[in-house]
Amino acid sequence: MIHQYKLGGYNIVLDVCSGSVHAVDEVAYDMIAMFEANDRDTVIAAMREKYADRADISDADIEECYEQVLALRESGKLFAPDTFEPMAGTLKAKTAGVVKALCLHVAHTCNLNCAYCFASQGKYHGDRAIMSFEVGKAALDFLVEHSGTRRNLEVDFFGGEPLMNFNVVKELVAYARSIEKEHGKNFRFTLTTNGMLIDDDVIDFANREMSNVVLSLDGRKEIHDRFRVDYAGNGSYDRIVPKFQKLVEARDGKNYYMRGTFTHANPDFLKDIQQMLDLGFDELSMEPVVCAPGDASALTEADKVIVMEQYEKLAELMLERSRAGKPFTFYHYMIDLKGGPCIYKRISGCGSGTEYMAVTPWGDLYPCHQFVGDEKFKLGSVFDGVTNTAMQDEFASCNVYARPECRDCWARLYCSGGCAANAYHATGSVKGIYKDGCDLFRKRMECAIMVQIAKIFEGLA
């Protein structure tokens, strides 16, 4: 399968199954589109007819182009067949029972009251609660015990607002550091915070211990303060931005992400990206809101048209800034064409419920943070392990080939089938797809690959 598109002045051809990316001239672009379904004479005749008025394109050029396309096919870089389906479940089967990442819900409570919060203001449709050290310690022990030969273990301090339980976060990190060497492990911690409680102590700790920090900022003040308000209804922008700036400055090159959400209120989210840049941040992420179709913040079809344009303009902005020596990172456009994941990873789907689980303040295990609060998805607990094996099996069998809609999608090896939670909320099945998300994802991949090509051509890579 191939995918062809034109963007940023480039004619781009993706060979889905080999992972090859080609930037081609217009003759090759047209020729490749008809190559597989026609014989040589038909292809060459069609190209001669199409380019008959072009003095710069000779018959010899067209024949030469045909040979180049043919050579790529012979070398497996064009029209490579999909032979991966038998491997679809092998990675998960090989690592069955191995857990390598936990999302610790250290605080089911929040000091903000954001209307669009998927976690119902941190409570996950349940009671407010914070995780005790004992529960957190049991979670870390569970992770180490079930991590097999896996060395790097990921732990995300999540909420609600995790800094509302900062002392336990610190104690858990200290505990993890005290046991990692003896077990041959390396903990990588992430903190996701709304910023309200950031102070010098948090900054020092985060910069010392957190591999990554995710900082929630929606961009422009009026956009941010529309949803991200405290319980008195006051916007949080003016309180958090100086804290974020101080944290990022002190981070000294370690990873962080300014992470925003765009909604029906700001499909023109590039203005929010620009605002983040103006504030001095350069590792950025803006995500489309995920909510019920009738929700006031949901993106409409008209919004989606705007968002698609914004993605293209974002790609242009990234290139402009790179040329000017002021590059920035947009998380969804990060793509490592040379060193990305192997095919096993690409087809195995999201690791939720198998290698990745969420832990509630009470120690219950769920497939991921998005399922917390929906009792039927409870997998077990950090004390008893996974007891709902039928549910875990459902997640283990989730992969690219388990989703019929993915079979004809050119982006399937870039997304691996997408988010199980989004699929469930959209269709009632974790093996469904979230179509709106797919449409935006495909656009992002087109833009991301174009940016990579442009950087190579312009010597910016």
Binding site: A23, V98, V214, C342
Partner: protein
């Protein structure tokens, strides 16, 4: 005349032969967690010649 410029990429078919160590970051495409999908991950297999 070069009609096609092929960008250097990882050959996915070849990765079937020696990939699958499972050491890579867990993918999560949930919007609330800065969607770490497959595309923006790096391979962490230090033993494999990619």
């Amino acid at each position: 005349m070069e009609h096609i410029k092929t960008i250097e990429t990882r050959n996915l078919c070849d990765s079937a032969k020696n990939g699958g160590c499972g050491e890579c970051q867990t993918s999560c495409q949930s919007a609330c967690k800065t969607s770490c999908g497959i595309a923006n991950q790096q391979c962490e297999n230090t033993k494999e010649s990619k």
